[in-house]
């Protein structure tokens, strides 16, 4: 049995509003999403991704991030959110080349019904056309204050309305020994 198994890979061949990974089996210990994606936010070279679990729109989520804009540091925390925001996506917003963002997202012990679910993520993007605006690398995470096992994950773009063609989201399951 594979220790790390690819559960589902979605590569977009057209613009979509979000990607939903459903019917996630509970047989793994942890989940990991590997993302290379961009949205259609206008006038900015980067955007924010979000996760939503089990289609829930209730404010069960807290989140925090520590990141670097081109030459400064930023950090903040938010609570009682209806989704979990993670940084960074690329966008089609400026320039001629879409700077796809990369994200590695780990969802810990997602099927344990005695724990709320914890997420840690690492992501970033670099600007189009060598401008310095909107580049960012971030370490972020959050908690989904529900003990329900996660069986579906919606991945989308916070400020845009679509994820761009060529975006790819791949979900992996990590087994215990």
């Amino acid at each position: 049995m594979a220790a790390i198994e690819a559960i589902k890979t979605t590569r977009l061949e057209s613009w979509v509003s979000s990607i939903t990974l459903s019917s996630i089996p509970s047989s793994y210990e942890h989940l990991e999403l590997r993302v290379s994606a961009a949205g259609n936010r206008a006038s900015y070279a980067s955007d924010i991704a979000y996760l939503r679990f089990n289609s829930s729109t209730t404010s069960y989520t807290d989140q925090a991030m520590l990141g670097s804009a081109p030459n400064s540091e930023i950090c903040f925390a938010q609570s009682s959110r209806s989704r979990m925001d993670l940084y960074r996506l690329g966008t089609i917003g400026v320039g001629k080349r879409i700077p796809y963002g990369a994200l590695i997202i780990q969802i810990r012990d997602y099927a344990n019904t005695s724990k709320n679910t914890t997420v840690v993520a690492f992501g970033g993007t670099s600007a189009v056309d060598n401008t310095s605006n909107d580049r960012q690398v971030s370490v972020c995470g959050g908690a989904w204050h529900q003990t329900t096992a996660i069986s579906s994950i919606e991945f989308g773009d916070v400020n845009g309305t679509y994820l761009m063609t060529g975006s790819v989201v791949s979900l992996y399951g990590i087994r215990s020994s």
Partner: protein, 196 residues
């Protein structure tokens, strides 16, 4: 490409281990650089992978407390690399970026000749969507205690290679001097889901 393990004898496609060990370089003497290249073997052909991941345990020989770890792809020496980092110096964070470089200044806090003996820095490098037609993005986490001084201890980096070619070659080298003996790089390929 030789037949990979996820293709059964009868030609059936299977989903086995998603992470595939491609290659390891464990230096037995000091070396100026380490190179990994895609080939035509069952695991060494990078065209089958979604991402690559490289685990690094590194030290430089330069007579300084620390050096940087640089990456270059497909022998591209043009001004096609951007990078942006967040690191910690003493008790303060620092954000910093540069653009249009000839290499990706990727791995932070690599101990070197003036660091405490036998200390090596650790880094994990994620190469995203390496076979796509996108400019390539690389995420790096690195950390080290060089000798309990105020030099950088940990950091996160995003690098962009402004080239839409598939990554087929990775060169890793220190900013000054050589990689010290016992420096180690392990390269893994990450497969997508192949069976619906």
């Amino acid at each position: 490409m030789a037949q990979p393990s996820y293709i059964a004898e009868d030609g059936t496609l299977t989903d086995g281990e998603a992470w595939v060990a491609i290659a390891t370089t464990d230096l037995t003497s000091d070396a100026g650089s380490v190179t990994f290249t895609s080939d035509s073997t069952a695991t060494g052909d990078w065209s089958q992978y979604l991402d690559l991941m490289m685990i690094c345990h590194v030290r430089g020989t330069n007579a300084s407390t620390a050096v940087g770890g640089y990456l270059r792809f497909n022998d591209d020496t043009g001004n096609n690399y951007n990078f942006l980092l967040l690191d910690v110096s003493a008790d303060a964070p620092r954000g910093y970026s540069e653009a249009s470089h000839t290499k990706a200044e990727a791995i932070l806090a690599v101990p070197a000749g003036s660091s405490t003996a036998n200390v090596f820095g650790a880094a994990v490098v994620h190469f995203a969507d390496i076979n796509s037609g996108k400019d390539k993005v690389v995420l790096i986490r690195s950390a080290c205690d060089q000798n309990n001084t105020t030099t950088f201890g940990s950091g996160s980096t995003v690098c962009q290679w402004r080239n839409q070619a598939a990554i087929t070659k990775i060169l890793a080298y220190p900013s000054s001097g050589n990689w010290k003996s016992d420096t180690r790089f392990d390269l893994y390929g990450i497969l997508p889901r192949m069976v619906s």
